[in-house]
Amino acid sequence: MHNNFLNVSRETKMMINENINVLDFCKKPEYFETAGRVSSYWSWADYFGSINCRISNSFRMKYKIEAGLYALGEPDENSDVFVSANYKLSFNILRKALNGFSVWILALDTKGINVWCAAGKGTFGTKELVNSIKKAKLGNFLNHRHIIVPQLGAVGVNADAVFKQTGFKVHFGPVYAKDIKDYLKAGKRKTSKMRKVNFSILERVILTPMEIIPAFKKFFIFAVIVLLFFGLEPAGILFKNAWESGMPFLLLGLASIIAGTFITPVFLPFIPFHSFALKGYIIGVLAVIPVILLLNVPEQRNILILIAEMIFFPAASSYLALQFTGSTSYTNMSGVKKELKIALPAYLISAAISFILLIIYKLYRL
């Protein structure tokens, strides 16, 4: 039939060592496919890619490989089949973890999204898995009918439905690729530890750039508004005023961004309360107060400005911290909804009050 790997992307090409013919194992030679052979070795580009994925959205969105069947090592008709996503980082982590093993890897077309997120959205799901098993014609060359799906893929894969539609029994493997060797050695048996998702300090730190960078994009707009607001005088825009009066606001803005997008996520378990909005608020207050005390600018002595700052910036930190619920591996949607029911009106009111206070201050000064 067709060759899967004739027109493949650069990312896929860089990884494939050779194309092998699955025909050798086929019982029905008229149906054969080719599979790209990959190794468990990581090149410098793979290491670079693993870092770049955490920093750049645009890089990550393009970091994908061709979906389809791959051969790792020298698999044959008795080898295990692992299912992965076509997000290259997921695939790379899997093939690295399988160092020394010879297995088949079936990469589903998840549009370059990792297994867990894709499973949540349905692209790593029963339908895609069934289609991929059929397309790769696993049944034509394998002696067994077992397939290993990452446990987190269970969010989208209904094991029973896959079995009914393909005859393949789904085994949900360990959550983390590093446990795969022990899992295979134990005869495809997981310990309870292998089932659990962790959320270590390192994992949280890795996730913070994707919180910090979008926040800074918003900060730029905030800075322009602040400088315009303070610089605007009946005589026109005064840059001296804009800078002198606006600078404390910009510094406080930075403090609340650091509080909400970095300090709160990193120190998450050590901050009181379960609510992310409250955690972010506490850290926001703690970050904002020293900055206010350190700034000895005439504007800071104005009570209206002071109140506006104390209302707005901790709330901003709280809002940013609440965004981190999307990146954690333990918060749930019902909880986020519950938080937002109180937090969202509070944010809007805080923003409105601080804005009104600033307007009064401005009118008073004119």
Binding site: N158, A159, D160
Partner: protein, 97 residues
Amino acid sequence: MKYLKNAASLNFIQEKCTNCLLCIDVCPHAVFSLQNKKVRVVDKDLCMECGACALNCKYGALTVNSGVGCALGVINGMITGGAPSCDCSDSSSVDCC
């Protein structure tokens, strides 16, 4: 780490359960455990509503309201009136998870 108390929408119907243990196998937070040869919900507050157990329960013993858990997604859902959506950036790309 635990999130809000009594928030998770997980619902377990003991009578329908056949103790096949698939929920224990797929749960990433050890919400279920086998006690006296029966599956029990140990701690509902640990549930992150991923939906893996409910999808894989052949017997309909589990229901959970699963969905996108990021705040912006939920806000988007509130504004549009639909389900929480993850398409949070200005582009149409799905980049938040």
